[in-house]
């Protein structure tokens, strides 16, 4: 087989009978998570500090960029492990194939990495700043309004591109009925934003920001629940193959894990806990964000595995 599998959808892994395992699920989760971090920190950078004298906003700090850098790199590692022809990976960068999702992904990464690295360079961690004097000089630009807003815009753009990309990767690559829904993209994008918000909520040192992020995450979770409902209704009321695919999650072998872990543990429980927290009924904890992250990763696992169990026709 030629290494052209990287640049042509006609030779995508599934057509070769190559089953997708945990690597793709992990990549989709970490990609969506990084996208969420990028969009949120981009919005925070564009808005700037809320009031003069505010001690700063953790969302735009280098901490989240470092976490994003680690997450997307781990995700790329998972994807690389899944590739059948590792030595030919460089070919993704010598050809631009507009019809190939894998090629698109490679180019989006060229947008994501610089944004993350710039975010770190403008606000370097102390240990790094002390060792590299050039970085300390660079950090001066962080005070510049135009740089801050420009980086914010780039961050939002890179985040949206990455989020939409991980969202439509399954539909684009896999000719499977469970994945052939226009709602899968938005669902993954919102889920990525939600996991990003959950992590930032957990990591932020500012009570005011934590409160705001919890409220935002509640909104995102509610939208995600609505998208899941629409996605399943859409599949169930479509062609026979789609309805069959939907049955995998509505009575079939993936039902219990989907409804219990993804919907119950990963969405409804944290929504209830965070709603009570925001209302001041219960003390803030890190539990709800952890549940959101668990739900986010299991969502990818279920959809990757259930999708491969769905077929257009029973032979």
């Amino acid at each position: 087989m030629s290494p052209s599998e990287f640049v042509s959808t006609s030779h995508h892994p599934l057509a070769d009978g190559h089953a997708w395992g945990w690597e793709i699920a992990v990549y989709l989760f970490l990609g969506g998570f990084t996208a969420g971090l990028l969009v949120l920190s981009g919005l925070a950078r564009r808005r700037g500090p809320r009031a003069t004298g505010e001690p700063g906003f953790a969302l735009a700090s280098s901490g989240l960029s470092i976490v994003g850098l680690g997450a997307i790199s781990l995700g790329m590692l998972a994807l690389f492990l899944d590739l059948a022809h590792k030595p030919f990976v460089w070919r993704l960068y010598v050809t631009m194939e507009p019809r190939s999702p894998m090629s698109w992904g490679a180019w989006i990464l060229l947008l994501v990495y610089p944004v993350l690295l710039t975010g770190i360079a403008l606000d370097p961690p102390r240990a790094l700043r002390d060792r590299v004097p050039a970085l300390a000089r660079l950090a001066r630009y962080a005070e510049d309004e135009r740089v801050r807003r420009g980086l914010g815009l780039a961050s939002i753009a890179a985040g949206l591109a990455l989020g939409v990309y991980t969202g439509i990767l399954l539909s684009a690559l896999g000719a499977r009925p469970l994945w052939s829904s226009g709602l899968l993209g938005p669902l993954f994008l919102v889920s990525g934003l939600s996991t990003g918000a959950a992590f930032a909520h957990m990591a932020s040192p500012l009570a005011e920001e934590r409160h705001r992020l919890a409220r935002l995450d509640n909104l995102l979770i509610a939208v995600e629940l609505a998208l899941i409902a629409l996605y399943l209704i859409g599949l169930a009321s479509s062609t026979e193959a789609h309805a069959e695919a939907a049955k995998l999650l509505l009575g079939g072998p993936y039902t219990a894990v989907f409804w219990v872990v993804v919907v119950g543990v990963g969405l409804v429980a944290p929504l209830a806990i965070q709603a009570l927290t925001v209302a001041g009924r219960i003390a803030p904890t890190h539990v709800a964000p952890v549940l959101v992250l668990i739900g986010g990763i299991v969502l990818r696992f279920v959809l990757v595995f259930a999708g491969q169990a769905s077929h257009w026709s029973r032979l």
Binding site: G48, P49, E54, P55, G56, F57, A58, A60, S61, S62, G63, D123, A142, E143, R148, P205, L206, A207, E208, R210, H211, P253, A256, V257, V260, V261, G264, V265, A269, A272, I273, L276, T277, V278, A279, G280, R281, I282, A283, P284, T285, V287
Partner: protein, 189 residues
């Protein structure tokens, strides 16, 4: 842009009132009736009771099968939890125990009883308490495997079904616990 302040502030979330202490526990009879109704629901809906130790067996069987699949399948104890084509964790008790964690968490949060802490008597060291917790867990794993169930699966479920073996088990459990209590009085009181 201001520099990010990394010190953790102690300010409460703005909408939250000052946190009151943990609320008192529910009346034991009331909690017991609630528990009994949950147990009854399990009987009526699925025809089986509650449990806990079985979920640990499924978990250990699955983890062992990841490391040594053949050994786990041939093991007379773990093999029971690995038959069938389904994932070993797709078991009634595993899903029930995930629910237990969520239910306990919600109850604890509502009563402001979720605290990172180590429950121990006034005189025992932290390391001592943790060593005993580990040892007690390991002992109970043997007991539950031999008795075919634990406090939930045998005493509670079997007790309500008037199961002969469960009542023998329950009496033995209380006898064993009261006999041990005297030896560990310094650790708990």
């Amino acid at each position: 842009m201001e520099r990010i302040v990394v010190t953790r502030d102690v300010m409460e979330d703005p909408a939250g009132p000052p946190p009151p202490g943990p609320r008192p526990y529910t009346n034991p009879y009331l909690a017991g009736v609630g528990l009994g109704l949950v147990l009854l629901a399990a009987f009526v809906l699925v025809g089986r009771g509650l449990g806990a130790s079985g979920a640990f067996n499924s978990l250990v069987a699955w983890l062992t099968s990841l490391v040594a699949p053949d050994y786990a399948k041939d093991n007379p104890f773990l093999g029971n939890y690995l038959n069938g084509d389904d994932h070993p964790l797709k078991a009634w008790l595993v899903f029930e125990l995930v629910g237990v964690a969520i239910g306990a968490l919600v109850s604890g949060l509502l009563a402001r009883r979720v605290v990172r802490t180590i429950e121990r008597g006034p005189r025992i060291s932290i390391a001592g308490r943790l060593a005993l917790a580990f040892l007690g867990g390991a002992l109970m794993a043997f007991g539950a495997a031999i008795a075919r169930g634990c406090t939930s699966g045998q005493a509670l479920t079997g007790g309500a079904m008037l199961n002969l073996g469960s009542w023998v088990f329950m009496l033995a459990l209380f006898a064993g616990a009261y006999a041990t209590a005297w030896f560990l009085r310094k650790e708990w009181r």
